[in-house]
Symmetry: C2
Subunit: 448 residues, 2 copies
Amino acid sequence: MPRRTVIIGGGAAGLGSAGGVKAADPEADVVVYTQFEDVAYSPCGIPYVHGGEIPDFERLFLAGKQAYVDAGIDIRYETEVTAIDTAAHTVEVAGEGTVRYDSLIIATGFDYADPGVPGGDLSGLYYVKNIRKAMEWDKVIEKTERAVVVEAGPLGLEMVTALAHRGVETHLVDPNPYALAAMADPDIMAPVEQSWRELGVHLHFNTTLEAFLGDGNGAVRAVRTSDGEIPAELVVVATHKTPNNELAAAAGLKLGTTGGIIVDERMATSAPDVWAAGDVSEIPHGLTRTPLQGLTGSHAYAQGKTAGTNAGGGDRAYRAVFVPWATPAGKWVIGGASFGETTATALGIPYVTGEAQGISRARYYPGVQPVRVKLLAEPGTLRLIGAQMIGGGEGIKERADFLAQAIRFGLTLNDLSTMENVYSPAIGALNEPIVLAATDGVAAASKG
Amino acid sequence: MPRRTVIIGGGAAGLGSAGGVKAADPEADVVVYTQFEDVAYSPCGIPYVHGGEIPDFERLFLAGKQAYVDAGIDIRYETEVTAIDTAAHTVEVAGEGTVRYDSLIIATGFDYADPGVPGGDLSGLYYVKNIRKAMEWDKVIEKTERAVVVEAGPLGLEMVTALAHRGVETHLVDPNPYALAAMADPDIMAPVEQSWRELGVHLHFNTTLEAFLGDGNGAVRAVRTSDGEIPAELVVVATHKTPNNELAAAAGLKLGTTGGIIVDERMATSAPDVWAAGDVSEIPHGLTRTPLQGLTGSHAYAQGKTAGTNAGGGDRAYRAVFVPWATPAGKWVIGGASFGETTATALGIPYVTGEAQGISRARYYPGVQPVRVKLLAEPGTLRLIGAQMIGGGEGIKERADFLAQAIRFGLTLNDLSTMENVYSPAIGALNEPIVLAATDGVAAASKG
């Protein structure tokens, strides 16, 4: 009799898990429960359809439903799991009753943090997540004159740019002194904020949301903030991601300080035969061991693959993370790895820096873009511990990937200052910006 | 009295050297001799002006002559050094006589290998090197109907594409079975060759040049090859780079198997107080220790900086190379690090491979490009020893830089298969192509 794996959640972690189980145990009986009508689309693309960069929502879909049927993965759409009994190895499923599992994978994802202010039940509050709802909201955006984006996290950045590109008068409200304050440094974000201003965006930093204000007919008409009222027919609530951990908590699974399910390197939870993956779990940072939650779809997919492989009887490890990241922001692309100065300072981690303003191609080649690199290193050893970048776009993602591995494998500023680089006028400059930044850091350290 | 450093050569290695000396010893008396009218321009940009991608030659110039005067670097233009006496610490300079040095840096660069066939004195044979001549040749190209490019090395690739872009009927003649055979693998080059055919380029592989044929008035009218005559008014002779080693050889400096000057890690030659840098020197490959000569301008510049720093009394090492490379070729960008399968096989180095066809952005994001990655690893350890890539252009240069460091620091396919990657639809795909290729290699090795 085939072993049954039940997966709760049809996002990147859930479907990565399903594939992992099938790869390890092709005979496995794999059932995926999702509350939604669809799986296998990219929610990460939604802001770019809103912004007009991607022409339609349809192309965000990856595979048809038949593809999963063909792969032997039984997806139950619009079906809610209401409880887990880890002792009995069962889940309660609305409309199905008690369902037995041999292995259970919890991939219930995230919700946006409750903004915790009055007026949360008004219409006109948009939580970007589900593609079918996004299609409806896109029609709303088309008619919107003024919008507020609440919080300048990764999604907030994307939505601010998207709304501005759509010609909406856009206001960004964030309690921090600058955008993306949890990840990026203010010097990296200053050009982004300038480019938003050039797009006509109104920035309200150091500003606390106090209430959503209604028009008397149940629709939002404004937000009230610590800095006054901002009229708007649409509010994008882009608060930080919190783990969707209710089922896991009720089942008695151990949760960490972020609220995420604690997992080991095999993505196993504290309960036997129960695994977790994606935004509902927490993963330690590779240097600080601080638990992190709410990483990217790429992380969720890889974690799911790990959980699924192990649930299917295989053996796969998922390691602590060094968090390469990058995203378009205004007219720039920003990125980095591990942490920047702000986070290092907040964590009490000493560091030295190396910085440089480089270029992406030969200085004379059309299309050349600026690439600014800031590297953080451990004093003395000059071992790389973090990086932040801003540029026109070329190579930011690939540099972030590289720098995360440089941190993982203990490379130093000396190592990076002596690295070779491609020089070919159309695609790379004489001096690689990473090398320039590392050289600056080595010189500064030798003077210090 | 300030120490005098004499530098022979005004290219990337020579000027890198001059800067290195001044950085180490600001009081140094630095004299650079060059045969040419100019320094401080980028010869690497010439093919792209010919191709029309860069609008004019003027922008290839980096700094005016006054900038070097201001920096205390005495450049003697159109001045030939005719001999070196290492015992006397002097050079013979045409028009100046005997000039004493405390330190000497030889940065005499390269010449194209003599094609060794009759007709080499005909007009219409273009050796791409000097910018003033390139300006004249550009006018010739404007009127040219048919051209032959001799040899499909790095410059040959660029010139084939450039001439095709200019609407010239272009023939490529190369004795190897495919283009760039000394660096790249045939599977990487096949799409490049296809894109040249689409541009109307005629490819003559396995074809030996036998003679340049004249029209009776001293101008070339055709080339004769092992596969017949090819009429052409212009022949770009893009044979491989050979070290311009005559002065060094006459002075008794030790030369290596490539003909390049042998240097140690400080770029010191076999003679006291004599250094060498750039295409006239040879540098060991980081894995095989095979001497390499004729690397890029970026290498030359870094070697010059090392030689200059040491000549100026500082201390700087230049290490064995892992050779990240990348270049546009036809409608593609190709690249890699260390070596590919062809070279590994020729050197008798055993290897396993991992390969994948990935993408540069989310599959649904406009502008998404293919990125094919092939990784070579040592059997058993799966330690990375080489890489080859072809893609639309996005991130090829940065991936080549990364993979060269991955080889340098001993990363394995397992390491690369478990690396994190940025996922952001406009700039990076869910799965990084390097990760896919490494994963393929790990899977193949576990089956083998």
